[in-house]
């Protein structure tokens, strides 16, 4: 597992680093005279629902193209006739649907004690994974657990691991990444908690890349197969 370095992602003031967040020993950023060479390649996208829904699906894809985006992330598409519409609009405009944002996980989280919730949540994720296959997307975003008055951290941890494990064979078969989002969930909001949670979740995760931007925005991307 790649070691996570403690870094600061906060802008430093003249009086020092802003307090209140968990990072220490960070590297202060300085304004660069010319940008450092970037090792990798970044592409631009937005979440679908940022684009006005007064426009048709095709018009929204065209807008994405006009403003210079490479792709969009779409929410779970449950109606099969819409899947075709999205796929055709993406093909016509050259905008890539690169990720599916699963939608059922807030109301039916994998941390729930209710088996019916879990069944509904699993069906939602299966649809999201099928969407990804249909669109050629390589990522599905899942909120793995929600900690609240009804669900303790420990129970959230144990239950979410169990159910994510059940999904991984399908993700592996479809060659998809699961992107786990913890912001707003009270779960694993300290980035150093996440690698342990993810590594113990399954033996199928062979490589982990981790990135913490700023609490509570902690997004990890896992691969279902070794690169």
């Amino acid at each position: 597992m790649k070691k996570i370095n403690r870094r600061s992602f906060l802008i430093t003031s003249s009086s020092g680093v802003f307090a209140g967040m968990a990072f220490t020993g960070g590297i202060s950023a300085t304004v660069e005279a010319s940008p450092e060479t970037f090792k990798g390649k970044l592409k631009k996208s937005v979440f679908w629902r940022m684009i006005p829904d007064s426009l048709s699906i095709e018009e929204r894809f065209k807008l994405a193209g006009r403003i210079g985006l490479d792709g969009v992330e779409v929410p779970t598409i449950e109606k099969s006739h819409l899947v075709g519409e999205f796929r055709e609009a993406a093909r016509k405009t050259g905008i890539t649907i690169h990720s599916i944002m699963n939608m059922k996980h807030w109301k039916y989280p994998f941390s729930s004690s209710d088996p019916e919730d879990i069944r509904t949540g699993m069906k939602g994720m299966e649809t999201s994974l099928q969407n990804a296959r249909d669109f050629g997307a390589d990522t599905v975003l899942l909120v793995p657990a929600v900690v609240n008055a009804q669900t303790s951290y420990k129970d959230a941890y144990v239950r979410s691991q169990k159910h994510i494990r059940e999904l991984l064979p399908l993700a592996e078969e479809l060659k998809l990444s699961l992107q786990l989002k913890t912001s707003g969930t009270n779960f694993c909001s300290a980035p150093l908690n996440l690698p342990d949670m993810l590594m113990s979740s399954t033996a199928l995760i062979l490589k982990l890349t981790s990135m913490s931007v700023i609490l509570p925005f902690t997004v990890f991307r896992t691969t279902g197969s070794e690169r």
Binding site: F9, E36, L42, S45, P52, K181, T209, M211, R221
Partner: protein
């Protein structure tokens, strides 16, 4: 990879570059792991002019420019 702005002092979400996140440092962290993929803005919605501005802010993050 989702991106959005945040202001630590005010404890609220902001547009990209309007908060206290050091995007040059974030870019450096992405580069250190040789990340290749999408940076996906998840912000409030708006009209085409607003979305064009968001797209330009994403470009500045990618290019290592101040937003």
């Amino acid at each position: 990879m989702h991106v959005k702005g945040f202001d630590v002092k005010r404890k609220e979400f902001t547009n990209l570059g309007d908060g206290t996140i050091d995007w040059l440092e974030v870019r450096r962290a992405f580069s250190d792991i040789e990340y290749s993929g999408y940076i996906n803005a998840e912000l409030g919605g708006g009209d085409e002019a607003y979305l064009l501005d968001v797209s330009k802010r994403l470009s500045k993050i990618i290019d290592g420019q101040e937003i």
